[in-house]
């Protein structure tokens, strides 16, 4: 490749702003306005990459998304980006890129020797071999050579945001057609228009036009658009996904062009676009010609040569040859000549070409070879020579050699492929147009229109005659997919082995599966397949396009919602106080709650022991605010709850409280809690902590979808109230010290009763229930007063050495007492009879949610896993929840330990479990298996501590 000494006049690069950059450790110079690709070419670098499988040398092929050769590792360390397309990277000062998939470098790559093995590595060869002695002995080798660039080794230092936007009309592509569409749509001031283009500047193909008229038109159009308030312009933005209901996803490269720096602005922004109407003006991509050694560096698309010349002002060659099957390349060649640049020859597979073009070419002194094919290319590190053969009249064979040409660049044009990826994603149908050998939009499925070259409107006629592959010469080196090293012979092999569906061919040969997703190879592959099968292209079919149109940064899909923002956690009203008290916080459902409050250097087990003993012997305080608080109102509230709970709610008296179990319609226990009757038509449901929202939704679903006749209102007031659990023999003494109008004396306020009043001047609700086995007051005040109440109780409890205790201590305490915890001691199969509620259900006349399911065969199995206590034979034995109870023959599972703690009060392990037929096996010996070892235990009634239950009535 020739080095460009001076840029042509009129180039869209700013030669007054030189920029230095590095490639493979060497410093080079480019200008503002260059892409990395144009800068590399300007410096005469013809080999910039290596192919995936055979490590063949690769030079720049195109100018944009279609690029499958010039892939580089951009920057290094945390800022590193693998597989960056040099054609899409705007040059910035200090840019540092290295070649990929090569050792030691892309110029000289040891694995380049792979090229010689091509014949032994045909399509899907790996499925046919590496089986002896077994795949594992080969796997490491195959894996080692896989991949292209390298993934960064540390977290992404830059940020991403996501933003939604609505528009009446969204125009995608700001070439001539797109600009025209945007202008006419935005003429109506009430119409919100969004114009999106993937390049650094608007203009599309106009940017590469050498014509002053085009440049003038572009400047005028942009000026008009900038002036309009109802249009939003997005540059550097690629629309990648077209979804149902005209929703689009687009990636804006906000600050990439600044290089590896962290700024306030994100690196990229993912736009989620809600469009009324979409106009696709996405242009078309040029196809390579297919001939032996067409992958040699220095061979590029004719449109690319034109753009590098007219837009970037490069003079890449002294002896460029054009090779084509259509008129467009002729016009490129003539434009080059007009610019005063040399053009050696035009080789055209067609026998007849438009007379005017011929004249102009001859006038420009260009050698012309019609009905001629290029049958080979030569040159190390760049094309130096091409061999020409006449094509016989039948088009299927070759005549004698014509000649060979010395050249330093080959520009090819195999025709044009409209960029219909987004159209296809939108559900639109495509149809094949023979005259241009390409697929064009047919019937739209959504509100979308396609304009310009994307719609197959090429302006000037191409008079294309496809030459899918070069006849009479080996197809082994006629490349289709330059990156994945797929050749015409691979397609033929696939067809030979009866992989004839286009999807089979794609998967068998990997044609079009490389990072450009077949932008340059799909249609050529299809053509070769059609020719091989002797069937017309449309019968062979095309693959359907899916997002993304162009590979999209993974981080952009995440946006800001990482770390603490990945999933919100609910914070307790007194969170700050717990923090100050040194709480260890953990996630319990959606809430972040204290697990325990370790003293200095105190282990978890010691902390749990201390906290639980404080509750057993003195008094403890737990932040119980997540306790579900649903209020149910209405004339039908009682009837409703009677259908919701397995328990009889009809007999619950005003002021009374009752434990209740809730099932889903499948009979599975989903919640337990305490139901309080505040008035005939007003109930308070204390659901499990964290279960509040789910149960609220469960209740509203039944009311809204099934029992529309019931007059009931459900109100979730969980976070309105801070709830503190004051528990222990000294609990009453502590509570008495706080001024309030509720008589908490033993006589006036018995276990399982509820009171409303005021405490410290605030509305207050107190429930006497116990989950610890000790006297407990569950005290609720408006959440904003939670911290004050916490402090007041801690102060009042000071003389009794009150201890704040966490969830894990509560779990220990309730395990000692044998109180079950939904979700720990029950699973998705647990039915009420497994918890000993069969008799109660018998007594209840009315139906309730899930009742019928209990009567299915499964509900009557004698060996259902039932809730039980488990006692280890070894008094010093330990067991973890998760250990299994084995069947008598030890061959299988007969249940598992669901809760297990070392009880400081009892000085031994207490455990609960779900065990097959446990209720009938009380006292029976069992074997427990956990962490690889077995131990003996026996089944006991739940509740090892204070079996009489005197403590909680104290």
């Amino acid at each position: 490749m020739k080095r460009t000494v001076e840029r042509l006049s009129g180039a869209r690069v700013d030669v007054s702003r030189p920029l230095t950059f590095m490639f493979d450790g060497q410093p080079y110079r480019g200008f503002a306005g260059d892409s990395l690709a144009s800068a590399l070419l300007a410096n005469g670098l013809s080999v910039v990459g290596r192919s995936f499988k055979l490590h063949r040398p690769r030079g720049v092929l195109g100018t944009g998304k279609e690029e499958c050769n010039a892939l580089v590792q951009l920057e290094s360390g945390a800022f590193s980006e693998p597989n960056a397309r040099a054609t899409l990277v705007p040059l910035y000062k200090g840019l540092n890129a290295t070649g990929q998939n090569a050792w030691p470098n892309v110029q000289f790559d040891l694995l380049g020797a792979m090229g010689a093995l091509k014949r032994f590595l045909p399509a899907s060869f790996y499925y046919k071999t590496f089986m002896w002695p077994n795949w594992h002995s080969w796997e490491w080798l195959i894996r080692r050579v896989a991949g292209l660039g390298a993934a960064p080794l540390s977290a992404d230092p830059q940020g991403y945001i996501k933003q939604n936007i609505h528009a009446d009309v969204v125009v995608i592509g700001a070439g001539r057609s797109g600009l025209q569409a945007a202008l006419s749509a935005s003429a109506d001031e009430s119409c919100r228009v969004l114009l999106i283009d993937e390049q650094e500047e608007f203009g599309g193909a106009l940017l590469a036009s050498p014509l002053d008229a085009d440049r003038q038109w572009l400047d005028d159009a942009l000026a008009q658009l900038e002036a309009r308030a109802n249009i939003t312009l997005l540059r550097r933005t690629t629309v990648n996904g077209y979804y149902d209901n005209n929703v689009l996803a687009a990636l804006e490269r906000v600050s990439n062009h600044l290089g590896p720096v962290v700024v306030e602005r994100p690196r990229e922004r993912l736009w989620r676009i809600f469009a009324g109407r979409v106009v696709l003006a996405t242009g078309a991509l040029e196809r390579p010609m297919v001939f032996p050694n067409n992958d040699r560096p220095g061979i590029m698309l004719a449109s690319a040569l034109a753009e590098y010349t007219h837009r970037y002002g490069l003079t890449l060659a002294e002896r460029p040859v054009f090779y084509t099957n259509n008129d467009t390349a002729w016009r490129r060649a003539l434009a080059l000549a007009d610019a005063g640049l040399p053009v050696l020859a035009i080789v055209d597979t067609r026998t007849a070409v438009d007379g005017e073009l011929l004249q102009q070419a001859e006038a420009a002194g260009i050698d012309i070879y019609l009905g001629t094919a290029i049958t080979n290319t030569a040159g190390r590190g760049g094309v130096r020579k091409v061999t020409l053969h006449r094509i016989a009249a039948d088009g299927g064979s070759l005549g004698g050699a014509v000649t060979s040409l010395r050249c330093d660049l080959l520009a090819m044009s195999g025709g044009w492929t409209p960029t219909i990826h987004l159209y296809s994603q939108s559900g639109g149908r495509l149809q094949y147009r023979d005259s241009d050998a390409c697929f064009v939009p047919a019937d739209a499925h959504q509100s979308v229109s396609v304009v310009g070259r994307a719609n197959g409107d090429f302006g000037e006629p191409a008079n294309l005659q496809p030459q899918w592959l070069t006849p009479d010469v080996s197809s082994e080196k006629q490349w289709l997919d330059f990156q994945y090293d797929v050749t015409a012979s691979d397609i033929q092999l696939a067809a030979r082995e009866n992989f004839v569906s286009v999807e089979h061919v794609k998967r068998y040969t990997t044609n079009g599966m490389s990072v450009d997703q077949g932008k340059t190879s799909n249609i050529n592959g299809l053509g070769v397949l059609a020719q091989t099968l002797g069937r017309p292209v449309p019968e062979v079919g095309t693959t359907r396009f899916r997002p993304p149109y162009h590979p999209t940064t993974v981080g952009a899909f995440a946006g800001v919602e990482l770390g603490a923002l990945y999933a919100p956690y609910q914070r307790l009203p007194a969170h700050a106080l717990h923090e100050a008290a040194g709480a260890v916080f953990e996630d319990y459902g959606a809430w972040r709650r204290p697990a325990y409050y370790p003293g200095p250097g105190e282990s978890e087990e010691r902390a749990l022991a201390r906290e639980s003993l404080a509750v057993r012997q003195g008094v403890g305080l737990l932040d119980y605010s997540p306790l579900g608080k649903l209020e149910v109102h209405g004339p039908d509230a009682r009837e409703f709850l009677n259908r919701v709970y397995i328990n009889n709610i009809q007999t619950l008296k005003v002021g009374g409280a009752r434990y209740g179990l809730m099932l889903d319609e499948g009979g599975i226990v989903i919640d337990d809690g305490i139901v309080v009757c505040l008035a005939e038509d007003h109930f308070l449901l204390n659901t499990t902590s964290g279960g509040a929202q789910a149960i609220h939704q469960h209740l509203e679903e039944w009311l809204q979808c099934e029992w529309l006749d019931l007059e009931v209102i459900v109100n979730n007031l969980t976070s309105q109230w801070a709830t503190l659990m004051l528990s222990g023999p000294k609990a009453r003494d502590v509570l008495c010290k706080l001024s309030g109008d509720i008589d908490v004396s033993r006589e006036a306020f018995a276990h399982m009763q509820f009171r409303e009043g005021t405490l410290l001047g605030q509305p207050c609700r107190i429930l006497r229930a116990s989950f610890t086995g000790e006297v407990s007051f569950e005290i609720s005040v408006p959440a904003g007063h939670g911290p004050a109440l916490w402090q007041a109780l801690m102060t009042a409890g000071d003389e009794y050495d009150i201890a704040p205790f966490g969830l894990e201590s509560l779990m220990l305490l309730r395990t000692e007492k044998g109180y079950l915890h939904i979700g720990s001691d029950t699973d998705g199969n647990t039915m009420p009879q497994d918890l000993g509620w069969a008799p109660a259900i018998e007594k209840k006349p009315a139906d309730f949610i899930g009742r019928r399911s209990l009567a299915q065969a499964v509900g009557k199995d004698p060996d259902r896993f039932q809730f039980t206590g488990i006692e280890l034979m070894d008094p010093d034995g330990r067991v973890e929840s998760g250990a299994h109870v084995l069947t008598s023959d030890g061959s299988s599972t007969a249940g598992y330990v669901t809760s297990a703690f070392h009880s400081p009060s009892l000085g031994r392990t207490v455990a609960l479990g779900l065990v097959a037929g446990a209720h009938a096996r009380d006292g029976e010996k069992i074997t427990i298996f956990g962490q690889g070892s077995k131990q003996a235990a026996r089944l006991v009634k739940p509740g090892a501590y204070d079996e009489a239950g005197e403590a909680l009535n104290g």
Binding site: N245, H445, E701, L708, R851, R852, Q856
Partner: protein
């Protein structure tokens, strides 16, 4: 992306809703009196059509209301939206 007209809140993206599956499934009047097979059919059997599906959605992040949606399971096109207490629209109304 499915965009649904909530009968109360208007057009919202599917991210605000929860799909509750097939609608118009009748709960047996007297569950105790149906056979295991009938009960299982009520619990588990679904039409799961390839085409227009009558399903219920809840505007979970909005007004918390359940309502019915007639939606094509292939194109994801919403052809009708109606409240729980409204009858299933006729095929004409769906344009299906």
């Amino acid at each position: 992306m499915i965009v649904i007209q909530c009968p109360w809140c208007g057009s919202r993206s599917e991210e605000e809703f929860t799909c509750g599956g097939e609608s118009h499934i009748l709960r047996p009047e007297k569950p105790a009196e149906v056979s295991d097979e009938e009960w299982a059919a009520y619990l588990y059997q679904r039409k799961n059509p390839k085409g227009v599906h009558y399903e219920r959605w809840r505007h979970t992040y909005g007004c918390r209301q359940w309502f019915n949606v007639a939606r094509d399971t292939v194109t994801h096109e919403v052809v009708a939206v109606y409240r729980m207490n409204e009858p299933r629209p006729t095929p004409e109304a769906e344009g299906a």
